[in-house]
């Protein structure tokens, strides 16, 4: 028994291990327990002492689990006698505390309660460490100490204390095990709930995040509030909130000076036992949130920190390390949830980032659709489903947004054009964005928009209704088309030679321009009861109604025409003029029509007809257009008629003139019968013929103009064979006077060539060529006569009528140069082009 040493001595014997052994019993500061109280009672009775204690020696104090005759439940170590018992496994007896050097200065000895006798049996744990004592104390010294029976009894009671301790500890560890099991079960349930929530959220980020926070709180009961904060630039936004943090949804805190921000920046979990004591805390915020302790775990994807999952309590030290682990577990689930969301749609990722966008989409004037394509067995896209539409969409298409989401476009718009599917199929299949302007189904509304691919099966469409613009544009274009049609009609009618061709061209142009199904032209007979419709224009597949028709067979449709007014019917089934029996009209696919009268001298002589196989509203512009067409047709027909008459007149005139020439010839022949110089008579008749030829040429050209080539060829062919001359030059037309001059000129030149020049012998020939030449202010016509292959020419000594005719030139005023080189006679004629053209 070591009675020496200082008071400190015992504490150095494996003190740390002893303390942790003591802690493992979780006995300190626990309430009274009957089992221990019974033991101290027995001890006082056994040893006949007024005081008995079960004392555990802690690091800086001794604490009494049970006590009799002692007022305080603990004392400092200075006041402890038991501490001295720790060094031994047998009972420590001090008969008079005032005499023992270890205790004589102990305040409990020197002052009240004036302790005098002490006997303590060590409480020895199974590992032989001494945790404290079961001691008995008297206020009187006991020089003899305890009896042997008392000593043995006290030791037995001390062992009973330890047994109580062991029993207690095993009960505790059993309870801890049960608690542990319960906690695990709760966590697992919470986690499963969260995962199920994520899976069934359909990518709705708020659903997922709220499920996460709620699940984490369920798994960590100490949490009073929870939040998932998402990083948005240098801000953390309170995105999903639960419990005491619920009022703080949308709260935005800076990354730079908040505990959560620190968690993000360090990408590390934080267990803040006392938030207010933590230097990283934003104190104002913590006070506002009523946060006293918290656990925070970063939500990460790869190296990126997306946000923080935080639980808080208004109490300090509310969370354990295990709570932090759980929170980290759920933050990992949050990552999975966010990833899932990002895969649902890139577009929704935008929404995740900021709820502002959704609000914006709802407020957009443009219709907005997210569609998911539907494929058949072989992967072809056959339809698509509305996944999202905004409010504007409903307003624009006239269908409630709620009625569309979840349904396919073919369900929402039965009979919709295939383009509405095929074009978007192209978008998702080829990743090409498209722009469209299109009408939907039976709706007389036009939409313009743009479609983009989102994923392999989804696309987004942003569009506007542009009906007004399209209709205005169409009206403008129709107007343009009508103007162009009138121009085209004018151009084409000008070159047409017959009335049937004219009416056919007009029918075709009108039919095409107005987009009708049939257009034609009909002449009224003398009684105006029948109309003879000429070959008409129709769209493909529409039958012709060419032929004779009686107005009365089709209804009361004649009166308007007789008054010279157009007959305009928009629907033969409802128009009073045809409604009594629309059958005959419908039988030839006429639902709507206009008959535009064509008048001559105040009388309707024909009608221009347009018809449509569907009921149709005829605009004033269309009626005006038809009237303009009818007018032009009238003018065109009149032109043809007058041309025809003009032609008859020309022929008659020509006929008479040539008869006159024939008479002149007859008179001359008779008159000159006795003249001996037959050559002179012959020359006369030949010149007469040259003139006649010129008339022929002019007649073919309606007496307006004749081409040089035609004049030359016709004149020369009267006198010689085609192989003996050659004409070449640009297509230049001469006026009637120049035509006659040139004919006579060429006749004389030819006569001379045949008499004296290149055509007087075999092998010789003549070349005639001409061209226009710029000469200062005006352009001049140059015509060259070249003879080759004849005898050397001689300049004639006598100037007869022929020579003088030649020297008068093309317009009777000269411009002639004659040459006589050995190669053959040459003549050049020159005159202002303008003059030969117009004289």
């Amino acid at each position: 028994m070591n009675m020496a040493g200082t008071i400190d001595d015992p504490f150095f014997v494996d003190e740390q291990e002893r303390l942790s052994a003591l802690a493992s019993y979780n006995i300190l500061d626990t309430p009274d327990e009957q089992g221990f109280d019974d033991i101290v009672l027995l001890a006082t009775q056994l040893c006949h002492t007024p005081v008995a204690l079960i004392s555990f020696v802690d690091q800086s104090r001794q604490w009494f689990k049970a006590r009799i005759g002692f007022p305080r439940c603990e004392t400092s170590l200075n006041e402890s006698v038991c501490a001295h018992a720790l060094a031994q496994t047998t009972v420590l007896q001090i008969p008079d505390l005032t005499l023992d050097p270890r205790t004589q200065a102990n305040p409990l000895v020197t002052a009240d309660p004036h302790l005098r006798f002490y006997a303590g049996a060590p409480l020895v744990a199974p590992d032989q460490r001494v945790l404290g004592t079961l001691c008995v104390i008297d206020h009187l010294p006991r020089p003899a100490g305890l009896t042997q029976e008392q000593l043995t009894g006290l030791q037995a009671l001390a062992r009973q204390v330890m047994s109580q301790m062991e029993l207690r500890r095993s009960l505790q560890s059993r309870d801890a095990l049960l608690t542990e099991r319960e906690t695990t079960r709760r966590e697992r349930n919470a986690f499963a709930t969260v995962q199920a929530a994520i899976a069934s959220a359909g990518g709705h980020i708020d659903v997922i995040l709220n499920a996460l926070v709620a699940g984490t709180m369920q798994a960590v009961p100490a949490a009073e509030g929870g939040v998932l904060e998402l990083v948005d630039g240098d801000i953390l936004e309170y995105r999903a909130v639960q419990g005491s943090l619920a009022p703080f949804v949308g709260e935005r805190v800076r990354l730079s000076d908040s505990l959560a921000g620190h968690c993000v920046r360090a990408s590390a979990p934080i267990l803040a036992a006392d938030v207010l004591a933590d230097p990283r805390t934003n104190r104002d915020l913590a006070l506002r949130l009523k946060s006293r302790s918290a656990v925070l775990a970063p939500v990460t994807r790869g190296d990126q920190v997306l946000g923080v999952l935080k639980l808080q309590s208004s109490l300090p030290n509310a969370f354990t390390a295990r709570d932090l682990q759980i929170t980290q577990l759920f933050s990992a689930a949050a990552t999975a949830g966010l990833t899932e969301v990002s895969e649902v749609a890139a577009l929704k990722a935008v929404e995740i980032k900021d709820a502002y966008w959704r609000d914006l989409f709802e407020r957009l004037r443009e219709g907005f659709i997210v569609g998911r394509v539907i494929r058949d067995d072989v992967g072809h896209i056959v339809d698509w489903r509305y996944e999202e539409v905004n409010k504007a969409w409903g307003d624009l298409v006239g269908v409630s947004s709620q009625d569309a989401v979840g349904h396919t476009i073919r369900e929402v718009f039965p009979g919709i054009e295939d383009e509405w599917i095929q074009d978007f199929a192209q978008v998702v299949d080829h990743g090409r964005s498209i722009t469209f302007t299109r009408r939907a189904g039976d709706m007389a509304r036009w939409y313009e928009g743009r479609a983009h691919k989102i994923t392999d099966d989804t696309f987004a469409v942003l569009f506007l209704e542009v009906t007004e613009r399209v209709l205005a544009e169409r009206a403008r274009r129709a107007n343009e088309a009508r103007k162009e049609a009138l121009l085209e009609l004018g151009d084409r009618l000008r070159d047409i030679e017959t009335v049937p061709q004219m009416t056919q061209v007009a029918a075709e142009i009108v039919g095409r321009t107005m987009g009708v199904t049939r257009a034609g032209f009909g002449r009224l007979d003398a009684t105006a009861e029948y109309v003879e419709i000429e070959p008409d224009w129709t769209v493909a597949g529409m039958s012709s109604i060419a032929g004779r028709h009686r107005f009365a067979d089709y209804g009361d449709i004649r009166a308007d025409l007789m008054r010279g007014e157009p007959l305009i019917i928009e629907d033969v089934r409802t128009d009073p003029r045809t409604a009594p029996d629309p059958g005959p009209m419908l039988a030839v696919q006429i639902h709507a029509l206009i008959n535009m009268p064509v008048r001559e001298r105040g009388r309707t002589v024909s009608v221009f007809i347009v018809q449509d196989s569907r009921p149709r509203h005829w605009t004033a512009e269309e009626v005006g257009f038809l009237r303009a067409v009818a007018d032009r047709l009238e003018v065109g027909v009149a032109r043809l008629q007058s041309e025809h008459q003009q032609r008859l007149l020309n022929y008659e005139l020509s006929h008479r003139m040539k008869n006159t020439l024939a008479m002149v010839q007859a008179v001359a022949v008779q008159t000159l019968k006795s003249v001996p110089d037959r050559e002179a008579v012959e020359a006369f008749t030949r010149r007469l013929h040259a003139l006649s030829t010129a008339h022929d040429v002019l007649l073919d050209e309606n007496w307006t103009a004749a081409k040089i080539e035609t004049i030359a060829t016709a004149t020369l062919l009267r006198l010689t064979l085609p192989e003996r001359f050659q004409v070449s030059g640009p297509a230049i037309e001469l006026g009637p006077r120049a035509t006659l001059s040139l004919s006579l000129l060429l006749h004389e030149l030819m006569t001379n060539a045949m008499k004296y020049g290149s055509l007087s012998c075999e092998g010789g020939h003549v070349k005639i060529s001409w061209h226009a030449e710029d000469a200062g202010d005006d352009t001049r016509l140059i015509l060259a006569w070249r003879e080759h292959g004849g005898p050397p020419p001689r300049e004639p000594s006598r100037r007869g009528f022929g020579s003088r005719l030649i020297r008068m030139g093309l317009v009777g005023t000269g411009g002639v140069e004659l040459r006589y080189p050995a190669s053959g006679f040459e003549a050049d004629f020159e005159a202002p082009l303008d003059q030969v053209r117009h004289s």
Binding site: Y651, E652, S654, H655, R656, M657, K658, N659, L661, A662, M663, V664, Q665, A666, V667, V669, Q670, K673, T685, R686, L688, H689, S692, D696
Partner: protein, 128 residues
Amino acid sequence: MTNVTSEPVETKQVVLVVEDEPLLRMMAVDLVEDAGFDVVEAADAIEAVRILESRTDIRIVFTDIDMPNGMDGMQLAAAIRDRWPPIEIIVTSGYYDPDSVPLPPRSVFFPKPYREQDIIAAMRRMTA
């Protein structure tokens, strides 16, 4: 208005000239005679038909187109080709639209005023 020569000389061929304009008919008759043919004249197609019905020695008919009294030269030419196929036909006119009635086979056309040589050449060719 017939002017029949006495008895046709055997060596001479007979040409019937049909022309309503006296001056022109006179010139034509001279032309034919100068060329060495015998001439019979008619002032219109009806008369020409009557002559053709009354004699069988006409070898060539030289006719104008535009003539009065209901039958023009084209109709006469067609009738001749139909009823007297061997007879040759020469047609002349101040105006002839080749797109209208076609000339009968084995007939030639000369526009007025015609050149005498052309007519003579045609008659000689026909009787060669």
